[in-house]
């Protein structure tokens, strides 16, 4: 666990650190954080339980338990990582362990959105790139990696590889607007206009006053 590192805040343009690998397609959020750890009213203690059952099964040889991976912050995964449940506890557990960016072939839709909402970029890369990166990370102990959101590159001191982040999320990360609450609240006039145009909020009748209490 990398507790010294502060949680994401504001503009996110570069993530520097060590990489760590989880191999396999369709790693679901139940595996990232089993449901029994969701019995909590705060996210605080999730970090130590990330991949709890997989780690127990592998008795210390899981990559999140290896000494050389301590302090890693960039996670390299395969296809459809984070599929399944909408639990934000999954990216929260990864973040609280120390992960600050994830690079993979593809991601579960809701997981991807949850990562963005807490300032963790999910970058995609071609299958060949992922497998090359995973090989390098597993083979040697090159600890100096940089994920550059401006150049869309993941680099070590020898080579750069192309990654991709969709325009919308990229803009939000680079401008520090990934914490959307204030921005959404800012458009309240437009929101009220939208509400006033919706038939189901006004008895399906044009010109009729809004129903005051639907539920």
């Amino acid at each position: 666990m990398n507790q010294a590192l502060s949680f994401p805040k504001g503009i996110i343009s570069k993530i520097r650190g060590q990489c760590i690998v989880i191999q396999g397609n369709d790693i679901d959020t139940d595996r990232i954080i089993p449901a029994r750890f969701l019995k909590c009213v705060s996210f605080e203690s999730l970090g130590e339980n990330v991949f709890a059952d997989d780690r127990t099964e592998l008795k210390g040889s899981h990559s999140f338990d290896l000494e050389e991976n301590k302090g890693a912050s960039i996670l390299i995964v395969n296809q459809n990582f984070g599929c399944g449940s909408s639990r934000e506890h999954a990216p929260q557990a990864l973040m609280r362990w120390g992960i600050r960016a994830v690079i993979g072939q593809s991601f579960g839709e809701i997981f991807h959105g949850n990562c963005l909402a807490i300032g963790i970029p999910c970058a995609t890369a071609a299958a060949e790139v992922i497998s090359e990166l995973q090989k390098i990370v597993i083979m040697n102990q090159n600890k100096a990696w940089t994920l550059d959101l401006n150049k869309l590159l993941i680099s070590n001191d020898i080579k750069d590889w192309k990654v991709n982040i969709k325009a919308g999320p990229l803009e939000m990360l680079k401008t520090g607007h990934w914490d959307a609450t204030r921005r959404l609240m800012h458009n309240d006039k437009e929101l009220t206009r939208t509400m006033e145009s919706l038939p189901y909020l006004k008895g399906f009748n044009d010109g009729v006053k809004m129903k005051s209490n639907r539920i």
Binding site: G84, P91, G113, F204
Partner: protein, 471 residues
């Protein structure tokens, strides 16, 4: 890019603003919350000193952690008690209606909103639960969100979200006797893959859907997310309108004619453009059972378990992992596999018609020796209707336990769970490693009728062999 579809129409109606970078600010017409994914969202609200924007468009219930045996407060599990009391406190503080235990309206969030008439065509629905896709059965756009987004919806009644592509899944033919909506959606996920729907909303359409009931449509949309599609929907029709008529929150008789006129106008136009189209023949589908660790790893009851090498290269590795975890061998049939636990319930298959289908199989028979079998109605209303029809007695006499409503062993956040390497026949939605509460527990997903059949014989069984008029 799609155009003229129900998805496009609802999207446009709810678009508040375009956000920098291309995301849309989308108004949310119905926000459902529960005890697991909301406490941190309320805490976030408090940190920022914010209020709930539209408490009257927000509804809470408790489902994930509730015990299905003794529901006396405080719960035996202090963590579960803390979660429910936190939800009660938050709802009271922010003026949000909570359908709590014993209210007559409590139940799994995706079961109660439809049965109360809250979920309606043309709405946007969000909930901190991936199976929110269920509500698309009504011709709504409904999707699961994470806790930070729950906070955003609480604060602003809207979300920052990017538009999905739309894939039309055209279903022809009719499901045969003994084959259910669950088999259809398991088959679709098997064919399109668990990643196939990533980036898409699924429109379920075609000549076969007219004959699907609302509860069948809910089962299908519920599992869209298991195929990677965050959102699945049906176009609203007469079946939808009939279901909604007279429900607690449905439009009243004065509003009704205007409501159905508007709802009818939302359906995808004949000239709609889709990003992709695929077709399935429902008549060719047999009872389907998962054998692996993703909902896409399934086979027909009469097929042999696949050789990993016969699958797509991207699937063969996880198939090998699945065989090891499940302790199964390729080449054999799934029927005849001994079962330990049978679970009927969940937001996928915990509605009245699901219990009726299972009861038909259980009636006059006995659960096999050594099998633990239990039925968990999806809501207090489902339980009440089932009991009025005597289904509880049918199940009890057959040796099933009849429990109180909740999510139960679908994800085992309450005391209901597998132990050790136990193997379950389950009417729920996920067979992930460890999903049902034991790190080594194994799950076979199937229709509620198939679960009942497995309970009776003690092994995976073709339910058609146990139905009247054997054919």
């Amino acid at each position: 890019m799609s155009s003229g579809t129900l998805y496009d129409k609802i999207w446009d109606l709810h678009r508040v603003a375009d956000l920098p970078g291309g995301a849309t600010q989308l108004f949310i017409g119905l926000h459902l919350i529960h005890e697991v994914t909301s406490p941190q969202a309320f805490a976030g609200l408090q940190d920022k000193g914010l209020k709930v924007r539209c408490p009257n468009l927000t509804l809470a219930t408790v489902d994930h952690i509730v015990p299905t045996t003794d529901q006396t407060r405080p719960f035996v599990d202090p963590l579960a008690e803390e979660m429910l009391s936190t939800l009660e406190k938050n709802c009271a503080m922010h003026g949000i209606k909570l359908h709590g235990l014993g209210s007559g309206k409590q139940g799994i969030v995706h079961v109660i909103a439809p049965e109360l008439g809250l979920t309606q065509p043309g709405m946007t629905v969000a909930c901190g639960d991936s199976h929110t896709s269920t509500h698309g059965a009504f011709g709504a756009i409904a999707f699961g969100i994470g806790t930070s987004q729950v906070r955003d919806v609480l604060a602003s009644q809207s979300l920052s979200i990017s538009k999905l592509k739309v894939r039309r899944i055209c279903i022809t033919g009719q499901l045969r006797e003994g084959v259910f909506a669950k088999d259809l959606i398991l088959h679709i996920i098997r064919k399109l893959g668990v990643k196939g729907g990533v980036g898409y909303a699924y429109e379920f359409a075609g000549p076969a859907v007219d004959n699907l009931s609302m509860e069948e449509r809910m089962t299908i949309c519920n599992m869209a997310i298991e195929g990677g599609a965050r959102c699945g929907y049906f176009n609203p029709d007469e079946v939808t309108f009939q279901y909604l008529k007279g429900r607690l929150h449905s439009p009243n008789s004065e509003e009704w004619p205007r409501a159905i006129k508007w709802w009818g106008s939302l359906s995808s136009d004949r000239s709609s453009l889709f990003d992709d189209e695929v077709q399935f023949d429902a008549a060719k589908i047999s009872p389907t059972v998962t054998w692996g660790i993703t909902p896409g790893q399934s086979i027909s009851i009469d097929e042999n378990l696949p050789e990993p090498e016969s699958l797509e290269p991207s699937e063969s590795l996880i198939a090998k992992d699945a065989y090891k975890y499940m302790n199964l061998k390729p080449g054999k049939k799934i029927s005849g596999l001994p079962i330990d636990v049978c679970f009927i319930g969940s937001c996928t298959n915990g509605r009245l018609s699901d219990l009726q289908d299972a009861a038909k199989v259980a009636a006059g028979r006995k659960v096999a020796k050594g099998i633990k079998a239990f039925v968990v109605p999806g809501s207090e209303q489902v339980a009440k209707s089932a009991e009025a029809q005597g289904l509880d007695n049918i199940f009890r006499q057959a040796g099933f336990e009849w429990r109180a409503p909740g999510c139960s062993m679908c994800l085992a956040m309450n005391p209901d769970r597998l132990e050790g390497q136990q193997i379950s026949a389950s009417s729920s939605n996920r067979n992930f490693k460890g999903r049902q509460g034991s790190a080594k527990g194994r799950t076979l997903l199937m229709s509620p009728a198939m679960v009942a059949a497995a309970a009776i014989t003690g092994e995976v069984t073709d339910v058609r062999d146990l139905l009247p008029n054997n054919y």
